[in-house]
Structure formats: structure tokens, C-alpha cells
Symmetry: C2
Subunit: 223 residues, 2 copies
């Protein structure tokens, strides 16, 4: 006999994600799930996004990693509340981990939570955490062929941030082919070339995110 | 009631891995499981390794990806037998997939099989495939803090290839801190700085690998 264990695990995850969602709705908090490979620049992109948005919104960050507090410490150093989740061995965040993390945050005082998922292009795509939107980062050094190999994540992301764009000349990255394949997998997802550590390109990404946040809030206000 | 499903899955994987191992032993084939993030340069490193070893050994490659035949085609273009495994959604290779892949190879004619695992620093570490050694690649753009965040993979790798070393000046990568943390997690693992696409540093890595292959073969000959 074989037992399909993926379904009950995903069902339980969905149920707890809905509970998270209800809490976010009650407090009018917009939640972004940011996914990428290890070292694509998730934390740097979050820091650049915080710099662009902090005058307008109250922001907190939930950091997911197998081990260490490296990223939460980087965020906290900028005066932003940060909760570190250590998954032990798990390759992605699940909604019960987010549930525990938000217990440590003052939701009523927040406008946005950015969740930095574990560095992985595969597993995080299957798990709804209660977020408003999933967005992914690909970095130039990873290569333009990644959408062929990891199509799911490019399919579920509402936007694709193309980070380390300042190193385009150093690597053999065909941006036109990349955009073409991303578009075929996900026609509505915009691609934002940025250099998170230098701040280049962050304006266009922040403008998109603000519009996305405001439309989610407007929809909530009507419902 | 909660059921721990990880144990039976791992048990089954171990059993099939032992069957793979028996086949490799019977044919005196050395098997390397190569693990890394997406875009760290696994395929380029395999091509550089093939160039260094092909006069001495008959080599085949098993390529693991969620989707696409991009990598197997790159390897085949160099006249090396390559089998592509598409895992569908799975984030790592398991021993039953390897079992099917080796059915497509002429083991008796081979000295080495290089397995390129799915791009992922987490999940592949838990699954024994029947290989002689696991080796990992980290690329400079990923950053020197990765051993803090993904300690398991640095613990199980017998050697660490530090790829895209030619871009060291472009990124904020502290090599001394990196080596220190890798050493604390895994005192016996050598670190090989290479630029796989340029061939720099491949000699030292290939020398280590040849010694590793020959010691495995000598041990097999005695048993």
C-alpha cells in the first residue's frame, strides 16, 4: 500500500494559512512572500525595498533560514522589527511557522510584512502562507536558463526581480531570451532589473509594489 | 495521530541506493553526486572536469532537473553519454530515479558517473543515491555567509568547489571567513577555487578527484 502524504500536509498548511490570512485582513496588513535561490540577494533586496517604502509604511520582516540569525540581525540593524525562523532541516516555510512568527509581531501597528523564504527555487512554490503575493528574485550570475529548469516558481510569481543587474557584462546572460521564456510561463509578470546593493532600479519595483499594496487594501476596504 | 513519513521514505531510498551501489561495485564505477544552488555552475564544472579526466577515464553524466533537457544536451554535445532525469516537482534526486537512469547506461564500459543533482542546498543532502562521494559547489556571487545558513550540505560534502572565482573582485565575498566556517563545519573538506568556464583551478580539483577515485578503486579491489 502507498499513502499519498502530500495531500494532508498541504491541507493542514492551507488551513493554517487561512488563519494567518484572517489575521492579516483584520489588521489590514499586506504580506509579501519573497522567494529566490541561496545568495540571489533576498536580504539586500528587502533592505532596498525598506529604504524605498519606510516613510510611507510600517514594515516588519520574517526571515526563514535552515540555521543562523544572520539575516534578521541585518534587518534589525536598520531599526525594522525582524523575526528569524530557523527551519532546522526544512527547505521552505510553512504556514504554522508564520503563525508562530506573527505572534512575536504587533500586527496592529504594521502595514506590510515581508517574508524572506528559505533559499530554494522549488519547495516554497507549493506552500501558501497567507500572503497577498509571491514575488521571486533571479540574479544575473545564476544564468538566463533558469526558467526552463524551474518553471513552477516563474509561474507562481506575480513579479520577477532580476538582481545583480550591474554584473550583466561579467556573465553570459541573455536578457532577451530570459524575458521571452518568463513571458511564456507567466505573461502578466513584470521583470524588474535591479542592483539591490546599489539601489539601481529599485524605484520601478517599489512603484509596482506600492500599487499592488494599495489595490489589495482598496479591495479589502470594499469587502 | 501523526505519522512520521520521513522514515519509510528514507528507508526505501537507502535500500534502492544499496542496489545501485552493488551495481556500481560490480562494474568498478566511481560515482560522484554533485550538489549546488541553481546557477552555481554545476554543468560548467562537470564539463571542465570531463575535459580534465576524459583521456584517463570513460565518463557518463546523469542530469537532474525539475524540467527541461538543457543540461543533458550540453553534455551530449561533448560526446559524453548523458541521461536527463526530470523530477517533475521534486527538489532532489532519489535512488529509484538513479536506478532507472543507469538502466540507460552501459555500466561495463564506464569508469565514472557524475550525477548533477537538482539545484538546491537543502534537500539533496538527505538522500544517499549509491554514490562514492558527495561534493558541493558554492559560487562567489552567492556570498560567504552560506555555510551559516545551510550548514548540513557543507557538513556532508567531501570537498567544496568555490566557483566563479574570477568574479571575486566584483562581489563582497570574504574568502578567509568562508574557509574558516567551512573548516569548522567540516575540517577535512578541501576548498578548491575554480573558474569552471575558463578552466582556472580545475587542475587541483581534478588531481584531488583522481586520487579519490583511485583510492576507492583500490579499496574495492581488496574487498
Amino acid at each position: 500500500m502507498e499513502i499519498d502524504i502530500s495531500k494532508p500536509i498541504l491541507d493542514r498548511n492551507e488551513r493554517l494559512a487561512s488563519e494567518n490570512r484572517a489575521l492579516f485582513d483584520a489588521n489590514d496588513v499586506f504580506v509579501l512572500d519573497l522567494m529566490a535561490s541561496p545568495g540571489a540577494g533576498k536580504t539586500s533586496t528587502i533592505l532596498a525595498t525598506i529604504a524605498a517604502l519606510r516613510d510611507r509604511y510600517n514594515i516588519a520582516v520574517i526571515e526563514g533560514d535552515i540555521a543562523s540569525r544572520v539575516d534578521a540581525e541585518k534587518i534589525s540593524a536598520h531599526g525594522i522589527p525582524a523575526v528569524q525562523i530557523n527551519t532546522g532541516g526544512a527547505c521552505h516555510l510553512e504556514s504554522d511557522m508564520i503563525k508562530r512568527a506573527i505572534d512575536a509581531l504587533d500586527l496592529a501597528s504594521l502595514d506590510i510584512i515581508i517574508i524572506e523564504n528559505v533559499g530554494n527555487l522549488v519547495c516554497p512554490t507549493d506552500f501558501y502562507l497567507g500572503e497577498d503575493a509571491k514575488v521571486m528574485i533571479l540574479s544575473i550570475p545564476e544564468g538566463h536558463d533558469k526558467p526552463y529548469k524551474y518553471p513552477n516558481i516563474f509561474g507562481v510569481a506575480e513579479a520577477v526581480i532580476l538582481n545583480k543587474y550591474d554584473t550583466l557584462s561579467v556573465f553570459d546572460f541573455d536578457e532577451s531570451e530570459f524575458r521571452q521564456v518568463v513571458h511564456s510561463l507567466n505573461p502578466s509578470a513584470p521583470v524588474f532589473p535591479v542592483s539591490a546593493t546599489k539601489g539601481d532600479g529599485i524605484d520601478a519595483w517599489a512603484e509596482w509594489l506600492i500599487a499592488r499594496i494599495e489595490s489589495a487594501r482598496a479591495a479589502r476596504a470594499q469587502s
